[in-house]
């Protein structure tokens, strides 16, 4: 039987196994990517579309709202990197040490928020940050005698709300990444460090940190992308895609606004392509600086 021979062939088998991935990757990633790229040079009309060259891109450069969206996304990405790498790492080290009791409980507590839907948590945060006096944040400020504050109408406090939501949600996840990285570190290295008389701080900086580097780079890479691609959090926090003076507008929010709300798919694709390029530039720079592409040293 030819078919049998084919299936059992050692040469063919690996390809058979990767086919599902390749197919779905091609259909759901490569194809949309190419289409988005070509559509970004078109004016997509109701009945027919026409090629308009770089018009979408030149308009994009002059578009003040897009620039606000880029600035917001960049700020958000920067602050999530600052908050969501060191702190989860610290928590992971604590969880791995003998300092903390009832580790399972802590891990579960920190991880739990990631399991809730952003839709629900976003709505809850919106209610907490409402400018009305019954909001959680305003109850706190009133108890401190500061009066109420319009949290979601000012730039800095709006960003604060987004960051608190992000930290609440992702600290546990990033901590687990670091925790798994820590488990992979050979304990004999710490024993050796102990024999050499290293302090816990020295052990952290000279053993843990360098050996955690692959995990850190992974977390950094996905965080850069997640920060730039944030949309749902802002959408839920402001109960829609319109925030006062666009303080909560992100690049993807702008893409949604142009593509879905205004049905201007060509322009939205241009926004998407720019987002992709920015994310690629940042991540490649970061990966090159971290030496990911260098040949592993022997």
């Amino acid at each position: 039987m030819k078919g049998k021979k084919f299936v059992y062939s050692q040469k063919v088998a690996p390809y058979v196994f990767v086919v599902p991935f390749i197919l779905s990757f091609a259909i759901f990633w490569i194809y949309p990517l190419i289409t988005a790229f070509t559509m970004s040079f078109q004016d997509i009309g109701a009945i027919d579309s026409e090629w308009i060259g770089f018009k979408n891109y030149t308009k994009l450069l002059k578009d003040k709202v897009f620039l606000i969206a880029v600035a917001n996304s960049a700020k958000y990405m920067f602050f999530t990197l600052v908050l969501l790498i060191p702190f989860p790492m610290l928590f992971a080290v604590l969880m791995d040490s003998n300092v903390v009791k009832a580790k399972g409980v802590w891990k579960a507590l920190l991880y739990m928020p990631a399991l809730t839907s952003v839709v629900i948590s976003g709505t809850l945060f919106r209610l907490m940050f409402t400018e009305y006096k019954t909001g959680q944040m305003n109850l706190i400020t009133q108890a401190l005698g500061l009066g109420t504050y319009k949290w979601l109408k000012n730039g800095w406090s709006g960003m604060l709300a987004l960051l608190i939501l992000a930290c609440w949600r992702w600290t546990g996840v990033n901590m687990l990444y670091f925790l798994s990285g820590l488990k992979a570190i050979d304990t004999s290295l710490y024993e050796a460090a102990d024999i050499d008389g290293a302090t816990p701080v020295q052990k952290f900086f000279y053993v843990t940190l360098p050996l955690l580097k692959p995990t850190t780079i992974y977390v950094l890479t996905i965080s850069v992308y997640a920060g730039l691609a944030m949309f749902l959090e802002s959408y839920m926090l402001w109960a829609g895609n319109s925030s006062p003076n666009n303080i909560g507008l992100t690049i993807v929010g702008y893409l949604y606004k142009r593509g879905i709300e205004k049905n201007n798919m060509g322009y939205a694709c241009a926004v998407g392509v720019v987002l992709l390029i920015v994310a690629l530039i940042i991540n490649f720079t970061q990966l090159i600086l971290n030496g990911t592409f260098k040949k592993e040293e022997d």
Binding site: Y8, S117, T123, L127, S242, P244, N245, N263
Partner: protein, 491 residues
């Protein structure tokens, strides 16, 4: 042979898990996109309404199957229907049963599928563009309507002849909302969404030390905005508290401005021909008046932007404001979110700038269309218009969906309008349909929803209204000029 099966099984499992991964990602987006899943949604502002409820529903729906229900006669003509509100589908189901009883020779079977808001509109547009895959009948939210009606009779079936039997008594403004640029009617409306003024009679009576009836007499004598302000000042003086206001003005919604435009017969979109112009005297007058109210302490800024959000409901329940204008579909917010307020509220006509002006405007809505891809266009169009405009249809819309129906023949029908079993008739001091009759179908204005509408609404709600209302000394002219500049970029 076993190995082979295991191999096949593994591959299938891998594909399935990959697809499942894609599916959940899409569902997330869908949930986000669904924020506007309410029939009474209007572009930017109302996209926010019922966000929690809709989103919750979608979050659940994302994991479950897309709800599909089939009604009617299995041997009849089959019609596919898409909607983004499950209740709408049930309306057609009920109507299909009645239709089959009345038309045994032309029975139908209808399958209603409820998709998340964003998904449904994207799917519809894609299938219309592709020329295949569209349903026979589809709900289209008014904010999305310009995108769909852009295809005119290449995509949609004109409903002119099917709607003809009902046209004499249909509110003209609502039919025009769903007209195409060629003048044909392509969408059938669910509701008028007529704006009216809601007054908290109980709170006013308590503060002013007079009876409910006396308060109502005072409200009924309000004709112009000047009268409205006078009554407000009287209330303010009586209650004598700094944190109690007459009304609240919106930084996240354009309802007040729509009312002002309708009163003067303006339309900032300029209709299909355009160009859009937001620097209208009616808009300036309203904004300037609101700035005065804010300065004099008569009005506050609606917490979180407008009254149709949780903070807005709380503000109403705390009696921090005792009057505000909103479309009649806001009645369901009272019954759903503020049951404690039952019996306190009275609905009246909106004040006008000059006596004799139109005093209402239709806000929000969903137009239902028949696509050219339908195999039974005429039947679908006839059924649709019957289901949304006939006596039977309107009765079911009022009973199950609670909307102010567009066929004015019902408004004066005592059994329809004064049914004391109806929850809205029970909730409010007066009968909502009495208010509609008082307004009259010709006094309900219309603001076009065209391609430029989302741009105007968005700039108003993100920037202009925040500028002029958060800082009541900000120049209205400057703010409107900025808005105009942004709008001009797009047209």
């Amino acid at each position: 042979m076993k190995k082979k099966y295991v191999g096949v099984l593994l591959s299938v499992a891998m594909v399935a898990s990959l697809l499942a991964g894609c599916g959940s990602g899409a569902a997330d987006g869908a949930a986000a996109a669904d924020a506007g899943a309410d029939a009474a949604v209007e572009a930017t502002e109302e996209a926010a309404e019922e966000v929690a409820e809709a989103a919750e529903g979608e979050a659940e729906a994302a994991e479950e199957e897309i709800p599909t229900s089939t009604f009617g006669d299995a041997n009849g003509t089959h019609l596919e229907m898409w909607t983004f509100v499950e209740l709408h589908g049930q309306h057609y189901g009920k109507m299909a049963e009645i239709w089959n009883e009345q038309n045994p020779d032309r029975t139908i079977e209808i399958t209603c599928t409820t998709y998340p808001y964003g998904d449904m509109h994207t799917k519809l547009l894609t299938s219309l563009e592709a020329g295949t895959g569209a349903p026979d009948i589809c709900d289209v939210e008014v904010g999305q309507y310009p995108n769909v009606v852009a295809g005119l009779d290449k995509w949609l079936v004109p409903l002119d002849s099917a709607a003809e039997p009902y046209m004499a008594t249909m509110v003209p403004a609502r039919m025009q909302t769903y007209q195409g640029s060629d003048g044909h009617y392509y969408g059938a409306p669910y509701h008028v969404g007529a704006t009216a003024m809601y007054y908290n009679v109980a709170a006013m009576a308590e503060a002013m030390g007079i009876s409910n009836d006396e308060v109502i007499a005072k409200i009924d004598s309000v004709v112009t905005w000047d009268d409205y302000v006078k009554l407000g000042e009287e209330y303010k003086a009586a209650i004598g508290a700094d944190d109690k206001y007459w009304t609240s003005v919106d930084t996240g919604g354009v309802d007040w401005l729509w009312i002002a435009m309708a009163e003067y017969g303006d339309d900032w979109t300029g209709g299909f021909e355009g160009p859009a112009n937001v620097k209208l005297d009616s808009v300036k007058k309203m904004l300037t008046m609101q700035q005065d109210w804010l300065k004099s302490g008569l009005a506050m800024i609606s917490p979180d932007g407008h009254v149709d959000l949780e903070a807005g409901f709380q503000n109403i329940m705390d009696h921090n404001i005792v009057s505000f204008p909103k479309a009649l579909w806001f009645m369901s917010r009272f019954t759903n979110y503020m049951p404690e307020e039952k019996g306190n509220w009275y609905i009246a006509k909106c004040p006008v700038f000059e006596a004799g002006q139109k005093c209402s405007v239709g806000i929000g809505g969903t137009g239902t269309v028949v696509t050219q891809q339908s195999q039974a266009k005429d039947l679908a169009a006839e059924f649709l218009c019957w289901a949304k405009m006939s006596d039977e249809g309107e009765q079911n819309i009022w009973d199950t969906l609670g909307f102010d129906v567009c066929n004015t023949a019902q408004w004066s029908d005592d059994a329809f309008a004064h049914d004391d079993n109806n929850q809205f008739n029970q909730y409010f001091i007066n009968y909502p349909y009495d208010v509609l009759n008082e307004i009259g179908m010709d006094n309900i204005g219309k603001i076009s929803v065209v391609a430029i509408s989302p741009t105007i609404n968005e700039y108003m709600c993100t920037t202009t209204l925040n500028e002029v209302l958060e800082d009541p000394d900000y120049s209205v002219d400057d703010a409107l000029q900025e808005c105009q500049d942004a709008v001009d970029m797009e047209q």
